[in-house]
């Protein structure tokens, strides 16, 4: 079985400060990891993914994430937060050895205050 944990329901940061949204995972095969963002009353939008290669992956809107195999983590980061980054963020994992389902975390609400 595979699982994703997003330990923080809510993250609050001030505009211009760095932000981190945490994600840890469990999967039996190779982890394929994804971050999605959901703005109010919208569908999820893909931000970035880790499949293989460089542990630091860069994605849309200045976001990046670092894959850490030993800590089974894939934290989402941004050097300087914007008010417009306020949204619900989901981490997801798929088993790279098995073309199965995506398992999503419970989501983290990011609020960036001016």
């Amino acid at each position: 079985a595979q699982s994703v944990a997003q330990p923080e329901d809510q993250v609050n940061v001030a505009e211009g400060n760095p932000l981190t949204v945490k994600c840890t995972y469990s999967v039996s095969g190779n982890p394929y990891l994804f971050w999605y963002v959901q703005y109010p009353n919208r569908g999820l939008q893909f931000l970035l993914k880790y499949i293989t290669g460089d542990n630091l992956v860069k994605g849309s809107y200045g976001f990046e994430a670092e894959f850490n195999k030993s800590q089974t983590s894939f934290h989402l980061k941004k050097p300087s937060a914007l008010v417009s980054d306020s949204a619900l963020y989901f981490c997801a994992v798929r088993d790279g050895n098995n073309a199965g389902k995506s398992t999503f975390g419970d989501g983290t609400t990011l609020t960036v205050k001016p």
Binding site: L44, F46, R94, D106
Partner: protein, 114 residues
């Protein structure tokens, strides 16, 4: 040009009724999904089709029946609606069933059962 579209956007109906939600994608993708997002924003996969073949069928009441007439369309029919079916239902698609592909989500259908 909407990549993944769903109709209707809102659906209000009474318990016991039967309703359908339609989904279409114009991305040329082979794989489509239905997800349910509950009031706490938790996201759970329900079904997935690859080239019109059902490949994922999670533990969902058999009142829910997906149907894929072609690889660009995936519909969801729900019989005998119950209060607990109230949620936002998202359709999504990906290039294929391979785990490395990210998913593209529709705008959602908010179903309210009274």
């Amino acid at each position: 040009d909407t990549a993944v579209s769903q109709t209707p956007k809102y659906l209000v109906t009474q318990m016991g009724n039967d309703k359908s939600i339609k989904c279409e994608q114009n991305l040329g993708h082979d794989t489509m999904y239905w997800y349910k997002q509950d009031s706490k924003k938790f996201l759970k996969i329900m079904f997935s089709y690859n080239n019109k073949e059902l490949i994922i069928n999670e533990t969902v009441p058999n009142r829910f029946s997906p149907k894929s007439p072609d690889k660009a369309h995936l519909n969801l029919h729900i019989n005998s609606l119950e209060l607990g079916d109230s949620a936002v239902y998202f359709c999504a698609s990906s290039q294929g069933r391979v785990s490395s592909y990210e998913q593209y989500f529709g705008p959602g259908t908010r179903l309210t059962v009274t």
